[in-house]
């Protein structure tokens, strides 16, 4: 970073002044204009610099946001104390393994019976390549990352009402959709329907591009033949020797493709967050939280349920009880506080902050999410269907099936993601007892993998995020209107307290939101500490 001067004032002190007087948004805008801020939102770990001797910070929550703040502020020289509701680090960074017991709200208890090496990530399971913050900490903590496949061309798209309920391969659906659209557009171009919009010179290029993109033949048609089969796959795979006559597969008609609604399945992997490359921690997403927890050691007090947060001109005190046994309230105090408790829970905890911040905390509804892990005694999707990782989409209420993206070709067992829901469908599945959710998931899976699914099922676990005792939902859901009115107030430093977490970010539900939120919060807090 250059030390360029703006008038008689250094750029840094100008930014500090803007930040202090006008708040973070003004500072961010100023930073952008001055060429500091990066669009990614993460420009590396905070460089906090010198710390006032003896300065202390109380961090509420040992999820990703809380532990990023704890590690950086400890390393900068702060005296750090962390309170965590659960008996483990990580928060929603969490994997369930055989031997784990999980009790959801309502008292429904599940004993996970997976084999060693098997797991399910009930919460986050993907690390996009541009989520630099969470990737930085995974690397720093020595967590091994392996590829996560969002898109598998050989996985299925399934609609119970189409093709006799027989699934199509993802590549067939995508090739047919692209092919027909390309043919249609080529036809329009040749019929001069686009002459108003595309020059004759550009039309020639467009036709060439459409042929390549849509796998059209020499007549610009998407029909059974070498070009389309090269994209959607042949009827029988080519081979060597005498038995290798080429066979071409028959594309579905455009009307069939459109009415199947299978095209809905081909878009997800195009979105920025789902583009290759994506990673997952080896052995489960929870590996990151565990590594953070190990690095922070006894800075974290576990099983601490915060029941009151109070600040005055001297510092901040959190009152807490044992989350398992209750008992006498205890207190933890520090000069400053970074609170990463989900807004769903925080809105219920007495805390003396401004009316504006309270209104912001109360303005964040929590979304529904639900995942089910199903252990199968045989990796039939690999052995029989040649599906190695990725996702199958279905119109059934389980929405999709995720295949394990590790231990490919192993002769052993595997855990499928049998259901992955958000929103409307997740509320409905959450309203059922866990064993019923699993029973439903098996029925849906059997339709996609008939004769294989139920026969190989051994055990499962279902996590409905609205029944998770420490989050009461999956993640913070901002509407545009709520952001306009409340977001800056949620981010603001309120006396000695600042909030952080995925809910205090523009990447809700993503761990990167937690990292970037914590980075921003502690940077602003530190500036306040040093100017106090």
């Amino acid at each position: 970073m250059s030390d360029a001067k703006t008038g008689s004032m250094s750029r840094r002190s100008l930014l500090h002044m803007i930040g202090t007087v006008a708040g973070s948004t003004a500072m961010y805008n100023a930073m952008t204009e001055m060429g500091y801020a990066q669009e990614s939102g993460y420009a590396g770990p905070p460089k906090l610099g010198a710390v006032k001797p003896g300065a202390s910070v109380l961090i509420l929550g040992a999820g990703i946001a809380g532990m990023v703040a704890a590690m950086e502020m400890r390393d900068a020289g702060y005296k750090v104390t962390v309170l965590e509701y659960n008996g483990r680090p990580g928060g929603r960074n969490w994997s369930l393994y055989g031997g784990d017991t999980y009790t959801e709200l309502g008292g429904f208890t599940q004993h996970v019976q997976f084999d060693p090496g098997q797991y399910i990530n009930p919460g986050p399971w993907r690390l996009p390549h541009h989520h630099y913050g969470i990737l930085h900490y995974a690397n720093k903590l020595g967590v091994t990352l392996e590829p996560f496949q969002q898109v598998n061309y050989n996985a299925y798209v399934h609609n119970t009402n189409v093709n006799g309920g027989k699934p199509k391969r993802f590549r067939e659906v995508q090739a047919d959709f692209h092919g027909h659209v390309a043919e249609l557009l080529a036809k329009s171009t040749k019929q001069s329907a686009l002459d108003q919009d595309v020059t004759k010179e550009d039309q020639a290029i467009l036709l060439e591009a459409l042929r390549a993109w849509g796998a059209l033949d020499k007549d610009m048609k998407y029909v059974k033949g070498r070009a389309s089969s090269n994209r959607r796959g042949p009827l029988v795979d080519d081979g060597g020797g005498l038995n290798s006559l080429p066979t071409y597969s028959e594309p579905d008609s455009m009307s069939t493709v459109l009415n199947s609604y299978m095209w809905r399945a081909i878009g997800w992997g195009h979105d920025y967050e789902y583009q290759t490359s994506i990673f997952q921690p080896k052995g489960g997403m929870g590996s990151i939280g565990k590594a953070f927890g190990a690095a922070l050691g006894n800075l974290i007090t576990y099983n601490a349920k915060v029941i009151d947060i109070h600040q005055d001109d001297k510092g901040v005190t959190a009152t807490y009880i044992d989350s398992r046994t209750g008992g006498a309230p205890q207190k933890a105090s520090a000069d400053w506080c970074i609170c990463t408790i989900p807004a769903s829970v925080l809105s219920q905890i007495p805390m003396n902050v401004s009316g504006k911040m309270k209104a912001a905390i109360n303005a964040i509804p929590y979304g529904a999410g639900l995942k089910i892990g199903l252990q199968m005694k045989r990796r039939f999707w690999e052995e029989d269907d040649r599906i190695y990782g990725g996702l199958t989409y279905t119109n059934q209420p389980n929405a999709m099936i995720g295949y394990p993206m590790w231990d490919y070709f192993s002769k052993g067992k595997g855990v499928l993601l049998g259901t992955y829901l958000m929103g409307a469908g997740a509320f409905v599945a959450s309203a059922k007892p866990p064993e019923e959710r699993i029973k439903d998931a098996l029925e849906y899976g059997e339709k996609v993998h008939p004769g294989q699914y139920k026969a190989n099922f051994e055990c499962g676990v279902a996590v409905a995020w609205h029944r998770v005792p420490w989050t009461l939902g999956c993640s913070g859901q901002w509407t545009e209107a709520a952001r306009e009115e409340h977001y800056n107030n949620a981010c603001a430093l309120d006396g000695r307290i600042v909030l952080a977490g995925e809910h205090i970010s523009r990447l809700p539900a993503w761990q990167e939101g937690a990292v970037t939120s914590a980075t921003d919060a502690m940077t602003r807090l530190h500036a306040r500490v040093m100017s106090a």
């Binding site: 509701y85 709200l105 309502g106 798209v157 659209v181 557009l185 686009l194 919009d197 595309v198 467009l206 095209w263 809905r264 399945a265 878009g267 997800w268 920025y272 967050e273 349920k305 915060v306 989350s323 769903s344 829970v345 809105s347 219920q348 905890i349 509804p365 929590y366 979304g367 989409y393 279905t394 119109n395 059934q396 209420p397 929405a399 999709m400 829901l421 958000m422 929103g423 409307a424 469908g425 509320f427 409905v428 959450s430 309203a431 409905a464 609205h466 998770v468 005792p469 420490w470 989050t471 009461l472 939902g473 993640s475 859901q477 509407t479 545009e480 952001r483 990447l507 539900a509 993503w510």
Partner: protein
């Protein structure tokens, strides 16, 4: 020169425009062939058991963890029928809005169900037009 590739962009856009985790995501986004809603459950009891009891629990007594879900059983706040109508339609604090998932009749039905069950004995009924007025 304007290069209106709009036809293709519009068609392809149908399937790539919704980020699954975007602001206010109430559906599964681009990957979902099953959107899960709006709900077609009929009658207050069906709506309660298929949706509401996920949080408020089958016995409507709520639950307690790091935070809590309020009990609807014997809940005096239900005395004013407009209150549950508003909460269901618009959401409150962490509770999401169900205004787009339930129609006026469904909101009225589930409010009437809750207000006459679980130890609640309120006689006045909510009508769909009462719900409509609160939207």
């Amino acid at each position: 020169m304007k290069f209106a590739f709009a036809a293709v962009v519009a068609v392809v856009g149908l399937c790539i425009s919704t980020a699954a985790m975007a602001d206010g995501a109430q559906d599964m986004g681009a990957g979902a062939m099953n959107r899960g809603g709006p709900y077609d459950f009929k009658g207050g009891q069906a709506i309660y058991t298929n949706v509401c009891q996920g949080c408020h629990m089958p016995d409507a007594k709520g639950a307690v963890g790091a935070g809590m879900y309020p009990a609807l059983a014997k809940n005096e706040k239900l005395e004013t029928a407009g209150y549950p109508v508003a909460v269901i339609t618009h959401g409150q604090k962490a509770m999401p809005s169900f205004g787009t998932l339930l129609n006026d009749q469904q909101v009225a039905d589930v409010v009437n169900y809750i207000r006459t069950n679980f130890g609640n004995k309120y006689k006045d009924k909510v009508k769909p037009e009462d719900v409509k007025a609160q939207r």
